[in-house]
């Protein structure tokens, strides 16, 4: 008994304890070891997000159009002097209609939406608003799983395979540019035939959607649907890297175009640093009177509804 280390205040019957103790300790040691290993692995998994590389910034979807090592930096300029909400042609805004067609956007999703804003001095202006592709995007900052991410070209995309549908991105976006799939959306069945492509997704239930700046169009040398469809060529698509932009008819030096026309961005004070610039105006270049309010309501051409699909109001 004197040789054994005393481990408790109340020593029990020595013989049985002497033999029993080593066995208990071994089992306990094993349990502690397993417990420690389990705790360590849980801890590692818990802390892993803190040190995971490359999340939050440009990661997936290597969509770059590489010429040498330079990457395009897409931007848009919308000349509001030429936008009259398609009043003069008596149609719903053609940019929105073309986008809906090109992306099979279901009702009520308008990835580019033409708002009618009151001008401070009286009258109104039409403001076609696509996703502003912010360089400090609040939607990207808050996404818990990185489903909203930025490509090297600065285009903010949504990975519908990763999105968990928490909608914090929609709460964070200050431009009202995100749309949720509240149910199976009413889209034509053929839109579901294509394999999933993060650059050209279709609408689905339970995830978020928005304008994606049509990067797949730019890569094959085409303008986005909205820019192509505008009857007064008000939408310019450009590259900040090469400092050039076009509306399909004319080419401009982007920086000069912005500077000489007092271009601004929406909600500049929020620090989102959008890539969509606006040239102030109210459609005067196409002869619009700023006091002439109203535009035709957007229409969605899909009559087919898949089983269980419903539409909703925003």
């Amino acid at each position: 008994m004197d040789n054994l280390p005393s481990r408790s205040d109340t020593p029990g019957p020595e013989s049985s304890q002497t033999e029993a103790r080593p066995k208990r300790l071994t089992r306990r040691k094993l349990l502690l070891l397993l417990g420690g290993a389990g705790a360590a692995s849980v801890a590692a998994n818990f802390l892993a997000p803190l040190f995971a590389r490359g999340v939050g910034a440009a990661t997936r979807g290597d969509t770059r159009d590489v010429r040498n090592a330079r990457v395009r930096k897409w931007a848009m300029v919308i000349d509001l002097r030429r936008c009259d909400g398609c009043q003069s042609i008596g149609q719903p805004p053609q940019c929105t209609e073309a986008c809906i067609q090109g992306h099979y956007a279901p009702e009520p999703m308008q990835f580019i939406e033409v708002y009618e804003g009151e001008l401070k001095g009286g009258g109104s202006q039409f403001i076609p608003t696509p996703c502003q592709q912010c360089q400090n995007a609040p939607c990207l900052n808050v996404c818990p799983v990185g489903a909203t991410f930025a490509t090297p070209e600065g285009v903010v995309l949504i990975d519908q395979e990763r999105c968990i549908g928490c909608r914090i991105c929609m709460a964070a976006c200050p431009y009202d540019r995100r749309f949720f799939g509240w149910s199976d959306p009413p889209v034509p069945p053929e839109s579901k035939l294509a394999a999933y492509d993060v650059e050209h997704p279709t609408a689905r239930k339970g995830v978020t959607h928005k304008c994606d700046f049509c990067p797949e169009m730019a890569r094959v040398g085409k303008l986005p649907y909205c820019a192509q469809a505008c009857p007064s060529d008000a939408i310019y698509y450009g590259d900040l890297e090469e400092d050039i932009a076009t509306n399909g008819v004319e080419l401009v030096k982007l920086s000069a175009f912005l500077a000489e026309n007092q271009a601004y961005r929406q909600k500049e004070h929020l620090g989102t640093k959008p890539r969509v610039y606006y040239i102030p105006g109210h459609g005067e270049a196409v002869g619009r009177n700023p006091r002439r309010h109203g535009r035709k309501a957007t229409t969605w051409p899909w009559q087919e509804k898949i089983k269980g699909a419903q539409t909703w109001k925003r």
């Binding site: 109340t10 608003t129 799983v145 999105c163 549908g165 928490c166 964070a172 995100r178 509240w182």
Partner: protein
């Protein structure tokens, strides 16, 4: 003289242990009813899984509703335990002892139910593993995940630690009256507690660590919950005060929750001898103090924003003060803070009944406050469009009922499994009280079965240092 102590403690043990072995018809009916409501809530949720979130009243513009309101509300209530158990333990407020166990119950259950709510709100709940596989630490939702799991773990530990001596008591006292599985549970969960010096020492260290640690953890939890809103650029949410405001609101609603749960359990288990009106009045004082704190926060928020009326503030003020949400807002301010504050301040109304009514009003008011923050905050238009409206659907009402029922159900089950009062702590206070009254010799404490908690020097030193005992 020793008889007095024995019978008081015996009385305590007998009363508190009784519900663990006797189950009345009323209890069975209640549990049956609660289970039905939970099942109904589950059915409502299943329709949401099938059809999508369109079965709720949420849409693109008001994209959060009841689920997130309940999330914030339940996480808020969970701060009950922190306050009563930890803060009051740290400042050695003696009157808290009968209340601590229930407060810790509420914390664990509220955290569990609250943590479940955002999962019900997801469009793709099958992708929850993405949070672990691809989680971004820059996201407020991940901060919630980190802090809520940390707080839940800490609360379970903190509930369990002081429970060990009571579980040992159950193991020793309850013979065949308790079901066999219960006896096995007590034997296993009490970890062989014998009240030895070493065990007391270990428990003491553990409890001291946890009681200090759980306070900053709890504060961080509701702060990061508030940052789900404050880290966005929405005008009504773009405020730096959200963290402190939410923590104060959480403690406020937590106190109200304890009062109500305690009142119900006291009545159901006939614990009047051990939980007197004094406890309710003390909780009432704290309720009143927090009502004033909340009024101060609200006044600051609205005065500072309203003086300037910048941006969309006029829209928000109109909808809150005069138009769509005015009834909810004014009920929250007047019914949820002013009236409870007055009830506590006015001596004639500062009674058990008064505190109970005040707590009920506070809980309703705080639920409305969460609702207003979420829904009215989202309603302010970001671009030139007409504001939408939000009408919760039957699915959301059912899920809310199910969540509330789940909360009550789990507490009811706990109450049948473990003593609702921390027997050993209260018993030791009775003994102190008796010892002071009758000037017992040091012999008696050593004879007493229960460890003299936190006493190194011996009974003589303790009598001078401790304050007055319980009723």
């Amino acid at each position: 003289m020793e008889k007095v102590t024995e019978s008081r403690r015996e009385g305590l043990e007998r009363t508190v242990l009784r519900p663990l072995v006797h189950t009345g018809k009323g209890y069975r009916l209640l549990v049956g009813f609660l289970v039905l409501v939970v099942l109904w809530g589950a059915y409502a949720y299943s329709t949401q899984l099938q059809q999508g979130l369109i079965v709720t009243g949420m849409r693109d513009r008001i994209l959060w509703g009841f689920y997130i309101t309940l999330f914030v509300f339940f996480i808020g209530i969970s701060h009950a335990g922190t306050l009563i158990s930890a803060i009051l333990r740290v400042v050695k407020a003696q009157w808290r002892t009968p209340v601590t166990r229930m407060a810790e119950f509420i914390t664990v259950v509220a955290l569990s139910v609250g943590g479940l709510m955002p999962m019900l709100d997801l469009g793709r709940p099958d992708r929850i593993p993405n949070l672990f596989l691809f989680g971004r630490w820059q996201s407020p939702i991940l901060w919630d995940l980190f802090s809520i799991t940390t707080y839940l773990t800490g609360s379970i530990i903190y509930l369990y630690l002081p429970l060990i001596p009571d579980l040992a008591l159950c193991r020793d006292r309850l013979g065949t009256e308790a079901a066999a599985w219960k006896r096995t549970f007590y034997r296993a969960a009490s970890l062989g507690w014998q009240g030895t010096v070493r065990q007391k020492k270990y428990l003491n260290i553990a409890l001291k660590c946890m009681m200090v640690l759980i306070i900053p953890v709890a504060v961080s939890v509701h702060t990061v919950v508030s940052w789900i809103f404050a880290m966005t650029l929405r005008e009504p949410w773009n405020s730096t005060v959200f963290g402190a405001y939410f923590v104060a609101g959480a403690i406020f609603s937590g106190i109200a929750a304890i009062v109500i749960v305690m009142a119900i359990l006291r009545r159901a288990f006939h614990l009047e001898a051990h939980i007197g009106n004094r406890h309710f009045i003390n909780l009432g004082y704290m309720l009143g103090a927090f009502a004033l704190i909340m009024l101060y926060f609200n006044a600051t928020e609205y005065l500072v924003t309203g003086y300037k009326m910048a941006g969309e503030a006029p829209v928000h003020f109109l909808q809150l003060f005069f138009r769509e949400y005015a009834p909810f807002f004014w009920f929250y301010i007047i019914g949820g803070m002013v009236i409870p504050g007055l009830i506590i301040l006015v001596p004639q109304t500062r009674t058990f009944a008064g505190v109970l009514v005040a707590s009920g009003l506070v809980l309703i008011g705080m639920w409305l406050e969460r609702f207003i923050i979420v829904v009215a905050g989202l309603r302010v238009p970001l671009m030139p469009y007409e504001p939408s409206s939000y009408t919760p659907s039957w699915v959301e009402w059912s899920v809310m009922a199910g969540a509330a029922a789940m909360f009550c159900l789990v507490i009811a089950i706990f109450a049948k499994l473990v003593p609702v009062i921390a027997i050993w702590e209260v018993a030791e206070q009775y003994e102190e009280h008796e010892a002071k009254e009758t000037a017992l010799t040091p012999e008696a404490p050593e004879q007493a079965a229960w460890p003299q908690w936190g006493r190194a020097a011996g009974p003589a030193a303790e009598q001078g240092s401790t304050s007055g005992g319980t009723t």
